[in-house]
Symmetry: C2
Subunit: 95 residues, 2 copies
Protein backbone atom coordinates (compact mmCIF):
# COMPACT_ATOMS: atom_id res chain seq x y z
CA UNK A 1 0.00 0.00 0.00
CA UNK A 2 1.42 3.34 -1.07
CA UNK A 3 0.01 6.65 0.14
CA UNK A 4 0.28 9.48 -2.37
CA UNK A 5 -0.10 13.04 -1.10
CA UNK A 6 0.22 16.19 -3.18
CA UNK A 7 0.34 19.94 -3.03
CA UNK A 8 -0.25 21.58 -6.39
CA UNK A 9 0.06 25.34 -6.70
CA UNK A 10 -3.32 26.43 -8.12
CA UNK A 11 -2.67 30.17 -8.36
CA UNK A 12 -2.80 29.98 -12.16
CA UNK A 13 -5.19 28.26 -14.60
CA UNK A 14 -2.25 26.01 -15.53
CA UNK A 15 -1.94 25.03 -11.86
CA UNK A 16 -5.64 24.22 -11.63
CA UNK A 17 -5.24 22.05 -14.73
CA UNK A 18 -2.23 20.25 -13.19
CA UNK A 19 -4.28 19.59 -10.05
CA UNK A 20 -7.07 18.00 -12.09
CA UNK A 21 -4.59 15.88 -14.05
CA UNK A 22 -2.78 14.71 -10.89
CA UNK A 23 -6.09 13.61 -9.33
CA UNK A 24 -7.13 11.92 -12.59
CA UNK A 25 -3.84 9.97 -12.73
CA UNK A 26 -4.12 8.88 -9.08
CA UNK A 27 -7.75 7.75 -9.48
CA UNK A 28 -6.53 5.09 -11.92
CA UNK A 29 -4.26 3.57 -9.29
CA UNK A 30 -5.99 4.05 -5.97
CA UNK A 31 -8.74 5.20 -3.68
CA UNK A 32 -9.16 8.90 -2.83
CA UNK A 33 -9.44 9.23 0.95
CA UNK A 34 -8.97 12.98 1.27
CA UNK A 35 -8.82 15.88 -1.19
CA UNK A 36 -5.09 15.44 -1.80
CA UNK A 37 -4.50 11.95 -0.44
CA UNK A 38 -4.82 8.65 -2.31
CA UNK A 39 -4.28 5.13 -1.01
CA UNK A 40 -2.91 2.96 -3.79
CA UNK A 41 -2.61 -0.82 -3.77
CA UNK A 42 -0.05 -1.02 -6.52
CA UNK A 43 2.68 -3.35 -7.69
CA UNK A 44 6.20 -1.89 -7.90
CA UNK A 45 5.84 -1.64 -11.68
CA UNK A 46 2.48 0.13 -11.43
CA UNK A 47 3.98 2.52 -8.87
CA UNK A 48 6.70 3.34 -11.38
CA UNK A 49 4.06 3.99 -14.04
CA UNK A 50 2.16 6.29 -11.67
CA UNK A 51 5.33 8.18 -10.70
CA UNK A 52 6.30 8.61 -14.33
CA UNK A 53 2.84 9.89 -15.20
CA UNK A 54 2.81 12.34 -12.27
CA UNK A 55 6.33 13.45 -13.12
CA UNK A 56 5.09 14.47 -16.55
CA UNK A 57 2.20 16.47 -15.09
CA UNK A 58 3.57 18.51 -12.19
CA UNK A 59 5.71 21.62 -12.24
CA UNK A 60 8.62 20.51 -10.01
CA UNK A 61 9.36 24.09 -9.01
CA UNK A 62 5.82 24.72 -7.79
CA UNK A 63 4.22 21.37 -6.89
CA UNK A 64 5.09 18.66 -4.41
CA UNK A 65 4.37 14.93 -4.38
CA UNK A 66 5.10 12.55 -1.54
CA UNK A 67 4.88 8.76 -1.50
CA UNK A 68 4.68 6.73 1.71
CA UNK A 69 5.13 3.00 1.32
CA UNK A 70 3.26 1.16 4.08
CA UNK A 71 4.28 -2.28 2.77
CA UNK A 72 2.01 -5.28 2.49
CA UNK A 73 0.91 -5.44 6.14
CA UNK A 74 -0.64 -2.02 6.13
CA UNK A 75 -4.04 -2.45 7.79
CA UNK A 76 -2.86 -1.85 11.35
CA UNK A 77 -0.73 1.09 10.19
CA UNK A 78 -3.76 3.21 9.24
CA UNK A 79 -6.00 5.08 11.64
CA UNK A 80 -8.86 7.46 10.95
CA UNK A 81 -10.81 10.09 12.89
CA UNK A 82 -13.88 11.95 11.63
CA UNK A 83 -15.74 12.03 8.36
CA UNK A 84 -15.19 9.18 5.92
CA UNK A 85 -15.10 10.16 2.28
CA UNK A 86 -17.94 8.49 0.42
CA UNK A 87 -17.12 6.35 -2.56
CA UNK A 88 -18.44 7.50 -5.92
CA UNK A 89 -21.41 5.36 -6.96
CA UNK A 90 -19.54 3.38 -9.60
CA UNK A 91 -16.94 2.35 -7.03
CA UNK A 92 -19.64 1.28 -4.57
CA UNK A 93 -21.12 -0.87 -7.33
CA UNK A 94 -17.81 -2.68 -7.66
CA UNK A 95 -17.49 -3.56 -3.94
CA UNK B 1 7.25 8.09 12.19
CA UNK B 2 3.57 8.90 11.87
CA UNK B 3 2.14 10.78 8.87
CA UNK B 4 -0.87 12.94 9.72
CA UNK B 5 -3.07 14.11 6.84
CA UNK B 6 -6.24 16.15 7.16
CA UNK B 7 -9.18 17.55 5.27
CA UNK B 8 -10.97 20.29 7.15
CA UNK B 9 -14.15 21.75 5.68
CA UNK B 10 -13.42 25.50 5.47
CA UNK B 11 -16.74 26.67 4.05
CA UNK B 12 -17.51 28.53 7.29
CA UNK B 13 -15.45 30.83 9.54
CA UNK B 14 -15.64 28.07 12.19
CA UNK B 15 -14.12 25.65 9.66
CA UNK B 16 -11.30 28.07 8.87
CA UNK B 17 -10.66 28.34 12.62
CA UNK B 18 -10.58 24.53 12.98
CA UNK B 19 -8.07 24.33 10.12
CA UNK B 20 -5.77 26.82 11.84
CA UNK B 21 -6.08 24.95 15.16
CA UNK B 22 -5.38 21.55 13.56
CA UNK B 23 -2.22 22.91 11.91
CA UNK B 24 -1.17 24.56 15.17
CA UNK B 25 -1.58 21.28 17.08
CA UNK B 26 0.38 19.29 14.46
CA UNK B 27 3.23 21.83 14.40
CA UNK B 28 3.95 20.96 18.02
CA UNK B 29 4.51 17.31 17.15
CA UNK B 30 6.01 17.27 13.68
CA UNK B 31 7.29 18.78 10.50
CA UNK B 32 4.91 20.21 7.91
CA UNK B 33 5.80 18.76 4.52
CA UNK B 34 2.71 19.80 2.57
CA UNK B 35 -0.27 22.07 3.28
CA UNK B 36 -2.25 19.29 4.97
CA UNK B 37 0.47 16.74 5.68
CA UNK B 38 2.71 16.50 8.71
CA UNK B 39 5.48 14.01 9.46
CA UNK B 40 5.64 13.39 13.19
CA UNK B 41 8.42 11.57 15.03
CA UNK B 42 6.36 10.82 18.12
CA UNK B 43 6.29 8.30 20.92
CA UNK B 44 3.07 6.29 21.33
CA UNK B 45 2.11 8.49 24.30
CA UNK B 46 2.72 11.71 22.33
CA UNK B 47 0.68 10.31 19.45
CA UNK B 48 -2.17 9.72 21.87
CA UNK B 49 -1.85 13.32 23.10
CA UNK B 50 -1.91 14.61 19.52
CA UNK B 51 -4.94 12.48 18.64
CA UNK B 52 -6.80 13.64 21.73
CA UNK B 53 -6.02 17.26 20.93
CA UNK B 54 -7.14 16.89 17.30
CA UNK B 55 -10.25 15.03 18.40
CA UNK B 56 -11.20 18.06 20.46
CA UNK B 57 -10.72 20.44 17.53
CA UNK B 58 -12.33 18.85 14.48
CA UNK B 59 -15.97 18.50 13.59
CA UNK B 60 -16.21 14.72 13.03
CA UNK B 61 -19.15 15.16 10.66
CA UNK B 62 -17.27 17.58 8.41
CA UNK B 63 -13.54 16.99 8.84
CA UNK B 64 -11.28 14.00 8.27
CA UNK B 65 -7.98 13.01 9.85
CA UNK B 66 -5.80 10.09 8.83
CA UNK B 67 -2.74 8.66 10.52
CA UNK B 68 -0.21 6.44 8.76
CA UNK B 69 2.33 4.73 10.98
CA UNK B 70 5.54 4.10 9.06
CA UNK B 71 7.29 2.52 12.06
CA UNK B 72 10.85 3.19 13.14
CA UNK B 73 12.57 2.23 9.88
CA UNK B 74 10.79 4.84 7.84
CA UNK B 75 13.50 6.49 5.76
CA UNK B 76 13.30 4.12 2.80
CA UNK B 77 9.50 4.24 2.94
CA UNK B 78 9.36 7.92 1.92
CA UNK B 79 9.83 9.29 -1.57
CA UNK B 80 9.46 12.81 -2.89
CA UNK B 81 9.05 14.48 -6.28
CA UNK B 82 9.05 18.23 -6.89
CA UNK B 83 9.23 21.27 -4.70
CA UNK B 84 10.47 20.84 -1.15
CA UNK B 85 8.69 22.91 1.47
CA UNK B 86 11.10 25.35 3.05
CA UNK B 87 11.44 25.38 6.81
CA UNK B 88 10.32 28.52 8.61
CA UNK B 89 13.31 30.58 9.73
CA UNK B 90 12.99 29.73 13.40
CA UNK B 91 13.13 26.03 12.60
CA UNK B 92 16.21 26.49 10.40
CA UNK B 93 17.89 28.27 13.31
CA UNK B 94 17.31 25.21 15.45
CA UNK B 95 18.95 22.74 13.04
Amino acid sequence: MVIVTYDVNTETPQGKRRLRLVAKACVKFGQRVQNSVFECLVSPSDLLLLKNELNGIIDPEKDSLRFYNLGTKYSNRIDHIGKVRHLPEDEIMMV
